[in-house]
């Protein structure tokens, strides 16, 4: 044992040595590497423009295709043949907020696509200054933002934006329309700018058409027929556009994130198919190449079913009644001259031109022409042909909701619910997707469901 002075000196020396040894290097030591990530503040950098714009497309592609698949099951386009109960609930239109399948397949990817497009548009305006107003990259981001909002409005009962309070479909449509209008301005300026290269001019023209179709689609959903006609007419009557012109989301077999989800759902090889048209209105439809399918059943994950092949909007469409399998790299058209034509036919109602258009589409499926139909018959036939032409391309849920809202026509499946696995005997009554649980949990501006 020792007395006080040496002890204090020893303690002081030891403490000083310890602190000197460790404190100086502490800050550097606590700065660790994270090679898998880019810090948010570093993204605010013009060097990232290409990656950012690619990110807008990269988020929208899987969001759109997955939404097209699951909304196809939710509506009458497809029936479920998967054993997982969440898929059954989607098919039955009885989706609980805790259903993770639709949350991960529809809501979350659409929100990611919307956020990325809005964020990139904002960054581009910051990076490019005045020139942003005539830059095709901004026009592209605005277009994709518009379509992300449009799909959210068509699919969701309501949806919050950026962690805010819930917005109604009309509010979401309003934002979509604003994005499309901005895109039209920017694409028009880019196209008419003398300094724009030929390649960028072609892109600007294409993006302008895309924005016009989107604006027409939203206007139609909002019941603004005149606006829909105004936006759709330049597209539908543009002689420079081939009748098969369309804007696509592309897929690739390179990585799983790029796969067309319809491949796994309806052409998944030996074991994975889990959707069919058995138990849908198309079960007995034969001879229409727009809803191609074999005449015999295939083995699915849950029993045998007639499984559809590639319809008109898919790059693997081959025009035959049997059709071709979906592939991992099949692209999907999500805006087309044909769609613009349908918007005109619905917004204008029956006239000679539109009846001729309708009969031309009926002929593809082997249906006889309508002669002087009533307006109701005309609209019913138009709805039927639109359903076939735009089959599995993400339109059906928005269409069914619009038919109820504007025309009081309810085409949702009701009554007995047929399922290959045990399920409640009747369809539910949902006409849109509820906000999922994850949003309620993480968004403090939403009251509990």
């Amino acid at each position: 044992m020792f007395n006080g002075m040496p002890r204090r000196r020893a303690l002081g020396l030891a403490t000083a040595a310890l602190l000197a040894m460790t404190t100086g290097a502490c800050n550097d030591f606590l700065q660790v590497k994270n090679p898998g990530a880019i810090q948010e503040q570093d993204v605010d950098n013009p060097a990232y423009i290409s990656l950012l714009v690619n990110g807008v497309i990269g988020e929208f592609q899987p969001a759109f295709s997955s939404t097209a698949l699951y909304s196809g099951i939710f509506t009458d386009e497809l029936a479920n043949f998967h054993g997982f109960s969440e898929n059954i609930d989607i098919d039955r239109r009885a989706v609980g907020v805790s259903n993770g399948t639709y949350a991960g397949g529809v809501y979350t990817p659409l929100q990611s696509a919307r956020f990325m497009a809005d964020t990139v548009a904002s960054l581009l305006r910051s990076f490019l200054g005045d020139s942003a107003a005539r830059d095709v990259r901004l026009a592209r981001s605005l277009d994709y933002a518009g379509y992300a909002y449009t799909l959210l409005a068509e699919q969701m009962c309501s949806a919050p934006i950026n962690g805010g309070a819930s917005e109604s479909p009309d509010q979401l449509f309003g934002t979509a329309l604003a994005r499309f209008n901005d895109a039209i301005q920017v694409a028009t300026a880019a196209s008419t700018n003398a300094a724009t290269s030929a390649a960028n001019k072609r892109s600007a023209d294409s993006l302008l058409t895309l924005a016009q179709i989107g604006a027409a689609r939203v206007s139609l959903d909002l019941g603004k027929a005149a606006d829909a006609i105004g936006f759709a007419t330049p597209v539908a009557t543009n002689p420079a556009l081939d009748s098969t012109w369309g804007f696509r989301v592309y897929h690739s077999a390179n990585t799983s994130r790029e796969y067309d989800p319809f491949y796994a759902a309806a052409s998944g090889g030996a074991s994975a198919e889990y959707v069919g048209i058995t138990n849908t209105p198309y079960e007995t439809l034969v001879g229409d190449p727009r809803i191609p399918h074999p005449t015999t059943t295939e083995k699915t994950q849950q029993g045998d079913a007639i499984v559809p092949n590639s319809p008109l909007m898919f790059s693997t469409y081959n025009g035959t009644a049997t059709g071709a399998d979906f592939t991992r790299d099949a692209s999907i058209t999500f805006a087309s001259k044909l769609e613009a034509r349908y918007i005109l036919a619905e917004a204008q109602g029956q006239n000679a031109t539109n009846l001729a258009f309708l009969n031309s589409r009926r002929a593809i499926g082997g249906d006889t022409p309508l002669v002087a139909p009533t307006d109701a018959d005309y609209m019913a036939a138009l709805r039927e042909q639109r359903a076939r032409d735009l089959y599995l391309a993400g339109y059906r849920l928005g269409d069914l909701r619009r038919y109820i809202r504007l025309y009081k026509v309810d085409l949702f499946q009701t009554g007995t619910f047929k399922s290959p696995v045990p399920a409640p005997p009747t369809f539910g009554d949902q006409t849109c997707w509820p906000i999922p649980q994850a949003e309620y949990t993480g968004n403090h501006n939403l009251p509990s469901p």
Partner: protein
């Protein structure tokens, strides 16, 4: 072949039951267990050593499951002078593990068995065996997932005592792990891979953990009866892990398994780094070697904290008092036949840092598909939380320990009360933010209290019979005290399956909640359109408000271990274990009813038809409360008989001692839980305070019974 071979000759309304795992060929097996161990210990005046080697091999009950583990450990210490001591320890572990597809995998045999219908063929194409839902045992066993892991642990400790009053200890450690996991599915095994291409993949995880720990202690006698001990020190921890993954699809031949030989190759890697630094100072005072008091302060910082945080400080204090040594109390304790009665109490704070990188909002690089091909694209990654703080726990412990009746019995009692503030919980990121997944957040406060009581006894000690035992009892009650932030919703569901487990203020953490069916006054079910569904025009056929069912973790545990010794050489050991006051979610039954229709309720003709809608409801509409069951149980964990050979007999084998043991583990279960084992958890066993304690019985493998025989020789 008839569609339902198992139904041939059966009368209508005959309930067919089958356990494919046991009744069908190739289901489960009796796995072999082998274990060898050798230990050597020795030393001299200034050195000592210890070397041990172990070899363990254990087969699982599934045909493609085994674990082989070999280890070598050694310690060596050397004291070159009176003031210096050096110690080195080293360990090497070599493990080879083959795992089956388990849990919720549709290609797993448990899934296939639990979802099967007797006599019905699998839903997969080309199946020739009935009684399985997806894969057959042969197909399941083709799944070849093997992991080889080498782990090396090195440690060195130097102690230096330059003066009698000054002790120094410096410890450095390295924990290095390197693994290789291989996954192989030959061509034409679509039931495993979903296609006929075949797959070969490798995963190479590697982690290193460096630790450096210094402690200095200064001893000082303030007065003859009062001794001071001042300690201070620092700890530095650096943890780094990385994983490299390569996958090849499209094998031309099952004989060529190199990834580079496949038609489609993909690769990825990950990296994680986490560093921490801590300092502490402690003062302990001892009075007459009977009363000891300690106060200490610790400061920690960690690389996972956000920019809005500097360091965390944790104080602690403790007091222990050997009351039976106090002259004025000695007679009292003698009257009570108590010796070495020590009262102790402690109060302190401790903390836990967030997960690595959880503070920062980040983007990452993904892909986008253009008409011309695949290009790089930016994508949102972690949402991040820059305001993260450490989770702080404040705990008070009070207890005592004592010997009783001259060592024939003993008691050890502790009451603890722990309050956690700023609890780190993984909570969902709102998708509307544009980000996905979860983020860590400091959410509110929790409490955790209970007692731990241990009683040892040796009631009978005769020449030819002895009885020793230990009774352990513990209770634990936790609950959420507050969310802290009033803007946070009252409910934070986090379970993988909906909201059957929830955080709610005033209730146990991760407790089970479930919706219950609505009933009419006469007890019959309320139905909507003939079923238990939610209908927005009519309302739900179940109570939409979740009802609290009970805790998800045991609130009491009792274990009773007894050893009976006969004629000195023969001993019988038994261990009974009870856990109670908790519930488990038998989620697998929802899928059996809703998706496979093979649950008893839907098939037993004697089951009341009026109750069928409960089990016909889909998962989303299911009244989950009916699938949450009380999980109390008593298990006979261990029974063993050991015979120690007489020394004269052992000497014939050149050993100084020898014994033979026959043991059985998990031999009996008493429980009302409807599944095979109330203790299982599909999500593994995790810390109940971290917020990541999902619990569910969903295609989980129950604990297996084990019988072993062992021989121990000492030379």
């Amino acid at each position: 072949m008839p569609l339902y071979p198992g139904c041939q000759g059966k009368a209508v309304n005959t309930l067919l039951t089958q356990n494919p795992l046991i009744q069908l060929p190739g289901g489960v097996r009796d796995g072999a267990v082998r274990s060898f161990a050798a230990h050597v210990r020795g030393g001299g005046d200034r050195y000592s050593y210890y070397v041990s080697a172990d070899h363990n091999y254990e087969e699982g009950v599934l045909g493609n499951n085994y674990d082989r583990r070999r280890s070598l450990r050694s310690n060596f210490s050397f004291a070159p002078t009176e003031k210096v001591n050096l110690a080195v320890n080293a360990g090497i572990v070599d493990e080879h593990l083959r795992l089956p597809l388990d849990g919720e995998s549709a290609q797993g045999l448990l899934f296939s068995a639990l979802r099967a219908t007797p006599g019905r063929f699998s839903t997969l194409p080309g199946q020739t065996q009935q009684g399985w839902f997806t894969v057959t045992p042969d197909q399941s066993n083709q799944y070849d997932n093997e992991t080889s892991t080498q782990r090396m642990i090195l440690g060195a400790t130097a102690t230096y005592q330059p003066f009698q009053w000054f002790h120094n200890r410096l410890t450095a450690g390295l924990d290095w792990t390197n693994g290789l996991a291989t996954l192989f599915a030959p061509p034409n095994t679509p039931v495993l891979t979903g296609d006929t291409l075949g797959l070969t993949a490798q995963r190479v995880p590697r982690s290193t953990l460096y630790t450096l720990d210094y402690n200095g202690t200064l001893d000082y006698s303030v007065m003859p009866s009062l001794v001071s001990s001042t300690s201070f020190g620092s700890q530095v921890i650096a943890n780094q892990s990385q994983v490299l993954v390569g996958t090849g699809r499209g094998l031309g031949s099952p004989d060529v398994t190199l990834i580079g030989s496949t038609t489609t190759i993909s690769a990825s890697n990950s990296f994680s780094q986490n560093n921490s630094v801590g300092y502490y100072v402690q003062e302990q005072l001892g009075w007459k070697n009977r009363l000891f008091g300690t106060v200490a302060l610790r400061a920690d910082d960690n690389s996972s904290f956000g920019s809005n945080f500097n360091a965390a400080y944790y104080p602690k204090a403790s007091l222990s008092w050997i009351l039976s040594e106090e002259p004025v109390l000695k007679s009292v304790f003698q009257t009570l036949h108590a010796d070495n009665f020590k009262f102790r109490t402690a109060w302190g704070e401790a903390g836990r840092a967030p997960e690595p990188y959880s503070a920062t909002r980040t983007y990452t690089i993904s892909v986008a598909t253009m008409g011309s091909g695949t290009v790089s694209a930016l994508r949102t990654s972690a949402f991040g939380n820059p305001n993260l703080k450490p989770e702080r726990g404040r705990e008070l412990e009070v207890g005592f320990e004592t010997d009783l009746f001259s060592g024939r019995a003993g008691a050890d009692f502790t009451y603890y009360n722990k309050r956690m503030n700023d609890v780190l919980v993984s909570t969902a990121v709102a998708p509307s933010t544009g980000f996905r997944g979860s983020q860590q957040a400091n959410i509110g406060s929790t409490s955790n209290s209970g007692i731990e009581l241990g009683l040892t006894y040796s009631p009978v000690q005769l020449k030819n019979f002895g009885w020793d035992g230990r009774l352990s009892l513990s209770t634990n009650h936790n609950k959420l005290l507050s969310f802290g932030d009033p803007s946070i919703n009252e409910i934070v569901p986090f379970a993988s399956y909906g909201s059957v487990q929830q955080f709610r203020v005033g209730y146990p953490l991760g407790g089970f909640w479930g919706q219950v069916p609505k009933r009419n006054p006469d007890g019959s079910l309320v139905l909507v359109k003939g079923a238990i569904v939610w209908d927005s025009t009519v309302g739900p056929a179940f109570d939409p408000a979740n009802k609290f069912i009970g805790p998800s973790t045991p609130t009491r545990q009792i274990s009773l271990a007894n050893t009976f010794t006969f004629f000195r050489n023969l001993s019988l050991y038994t261990l009974f274990d009870h856990q109670g006051g908790f519930y488990n979610y038998r989620g697998v039954d929802i899928y059996r009813c809703a998706s496979s229709q093979n649950c008893r309720q839907l098939n037993d003709p004697n089951f009341p038809a009026s109750e069928l809608p409960i089990y016909q409801a889909g998962v989303s509409n299911a009244p989950h409360a009916v699938y949450i069951h009380k999980a109390d149980f008593v298990k006979l964990r261990d029974v063993s008989i050991t015979y120690t050979l007489p020394a004269s007999l052992a000497a014939r084998t050149a050993a100084s001692a020898a014994s033979i043991t026959l043991a059985g583990h998990n031999l009996a279960l008493w429980s009302s839980y409807p599944g095979p084992d109330p203790e299982v958890n599909t999500y593994g066993y995790q810390n109940a305070i971290t917020g990541s304690f999902n619990r569910g019985d969903i295609y989980a493998m129950p604990m297996t019974r084990r019988l072993t025989a062992s021989l121990s020789l000492t030379f």
